[in-house]
């Protein structure tokens, strides 16, 4: 194993999601829609979704990759496979190093607990020890910029404020690979700039970042590469500007 090993390598990565609990006899069409992965039906009439159809790629260490594509193109599924949450149906996904995920802004765990208590809980959930949380608490609170709100219960927070807490904790894990799924939507402009600095610092520390983003401005701001996902395939993968131009033409 050398330093040149990629951070993430997908080989013929296929993910088929079964659709359970809808019975077998219902007539469900399996034609390709504008959105979503390919619908399939097996010989026993069970419907499933092919979320990823044999993709191959390599993400090098220190890359910051933006995932783009229509709703249901497979961006979140791909992120979940990279996080080890969805086991691949066929093929392999190799990830080197410790992974941290930020897939939902609402890991707001306990609405009656304060922001500070929630930082402890989220920290524990993502695998930090008590000592690690203590050591990072001040820095996390400072990053959140929530002032005295940090000691108020979470139900007083707006979605954007929750995002700040979630983002602060997820990025304070010493992770080698950081996976982010569409959570900046609720953050305001000031927070986005603030987050951008944090992401830049992580990239400098040679973390690898993969994030699903819809805004092209944010792609330009955060990412050096873009992966365009469509119907579970990779349509293009390369430097940000090139892929974005291609994406706009389509």
């Amino acid at each position: 194993m050398t330093h040149q090993d990629p951070a993430i390598r997908a080989t013929d990565l296929t993910l088929i999601l079964p659709v359970i609990g809808m019975g077998r006899r219902k007539r469900v069409g399996v034609h390709q829609a504008q959105v979503g992965g390919t619908l399939m039906r097996d010989s026993r009439g069970r419907v499933s979704v092919k979320a990823l159809a044999g993709v191959n790629f390599q993400i090098e260490r220190g890359d910051s990759v933006g995932l783009i594509g229509r709703n249901g193109a497979g961006k979140s599924s791909l992120l979940r496979v990279m996080a080890g949450i969805y086991p691949p149906t066929h093929g392999a996904c190799e990830v080197r190093g410790k992974v941290s995920t930020l897939f939902t802004a609402n890991l707001g765990l306990n609405n009656t607990a304060s922001g500070r208590e929630n930082i402890r809980l989220i920290g524990g959930v993502v695998g930090l020890t008590e000592d690690q949380i203590d050591a990072r608490m001040d820095e996390i609170i400072e990053f959140c910029q929530l002032g005295d709100y940090i000691d108020l219960p979470l139900h007083t927070y707006s979605n954007g404020m929750r995002t700040r807490v979630g983002f602060a904790v997820a990025t304070s894990v010493d992770a080698d690979v950081l996976l982010i799924d569409e959570v900046f939507g609720t953050g305001d402009r000031a927070f986005r700039d603030h987050a951008a600095k944090r992401v830049e610092k992580l990239i400098e520390e040679s973390s690898t970042i993969v994030m699903a983003v819809h805004s092209e401005n944010m792609l330009r701001q955060f990412c050096n590469k873009v992966m365009w996902v469509e119907h579970g395939h990779i349509r293009a993968f390369g430097p940000t500007e090139e892929v974005l131009q291609e994406y706009q033409k389509a």
């Binding site: 996080a83 080890g84 691949p88 996904c93 190799e94």
Partner: protein
């Protein structure tokens, strides 16, 4: 076709951050302690906006026992310490019932399971710890009952400790097993609710089995009654039979094995059932 693989290599490039004092990874035990604490915090937070706070379960047990005692006392004429009998009975039954009704443990945490790659058992531990807090708080009503009764305790009261250990170990796998089954077959959750209501009346919770009655038959073929016996008998100054211990210990071990095997069969599939 070959099955898919997720490979993660943790060793070679884990970053060392000189600014943080503790770069040590969390151990398994530290992790388990965290998830238990998380469950305890769930329990506490549930009552945060109330005045009585975490003592609500205790009051609940006392009110419940008083009500049942008034109405059903006659069904247990041979039970000298009826109030304590019912208090321990309903809190223990309540604990068993809430564990069996924990089928939602995975799908209610779907957001969680699909966001962070934590092992399945972490969610089980969290929910179980919450149930245990509730149970211990209810069981505290026993001290009230003891104060008002003439129970003569002997050394056998210490047997409640192994009994509680057997019960808690069993309840962990019960939550796990029910969670797995319900995630795939949601009907089971409703079925269990119906079953527990049925069992409440057909288990010796607020009546005692007696001799040669229908009630004796009901309690003999009901696993719940053995768990009630090992917890309750020591607290009433009596000794559970060897048969009681045998049945509960067997259920505890056999169930744990079944759950373990099933877990290994489904651990890669469960996330798709959420």
């Amino acid at each position: 076709m070959a099955r898919g693989a997720f490979i993660t290599v943790m060793t070679d490039i884990v970053k060392s951050d000189p600014s943080s004092s503790a770069v040590k990874e969390r151990s398994l035990v530290q992790g388990l302690i965290f998830w238990v604490k998380f469950g305890i915090s769930d329990f506490r937070m549930q009552y945060r906006k109330t005045f009585v706070g975490p003592f609500w379960p205790l009051l609940l047990a006392l009110v419940w026992a008083a009500g049942l005692g008034l109405v059903f006392r006659a069904m247990s004429s041979d039970e000298p310490h009826y109030f304590a009998y019912v208090v321990v009975g309903i809190s223990t039954f309540g604990f068993i019932s809430s564990c069996i009704n924990s089928g939602k443990v995975f799908y209610a945490n779907a957001n969680f399971l699909l966001s962070i790659n934590n092992p399945l058992y972490t969610h089980v531990i969290r929910m179980w710890a919450k149930h245990v807090c509730f149970y211990l708080m209810q069981l505290a009503a026993y001290f009230v009952a003891y104060y008002f009764s003439a129970i003569e305790l002997e050394w056998t009261v210490l047997l409640v400790i192994p009994a509680l250990i057997i019960l808690s170990f069993t309840s962990v796998w019960v939550v796990f097993l029910i969670g797995i089954i319900v995630t795939r077959f949601r009907d089971i959750e409703n079925l269990m609710q119906a079953l527990m209501r049925f069992l409440f009346f057909t288990s010796p919770v607020f009546w005692s089995p007696g001799r040669g009655t229908t009630r004796e038959v009901l309690s003999t073929y009901n696993p719940v009654s053995y768990f009630l016996a090992i917890i309750r008998e020591p607290l009433l100054g009596r000794e559970p039979t060897l048969f009681d211990w045998g049945v509960t210990l067997s259920i505890c071990i056999v169930g744990a094995i079944i759950t373990f095997v099933l877990y290994h069969k489904v651990k890669n599939k469960l996330v798709f059932w959420l």
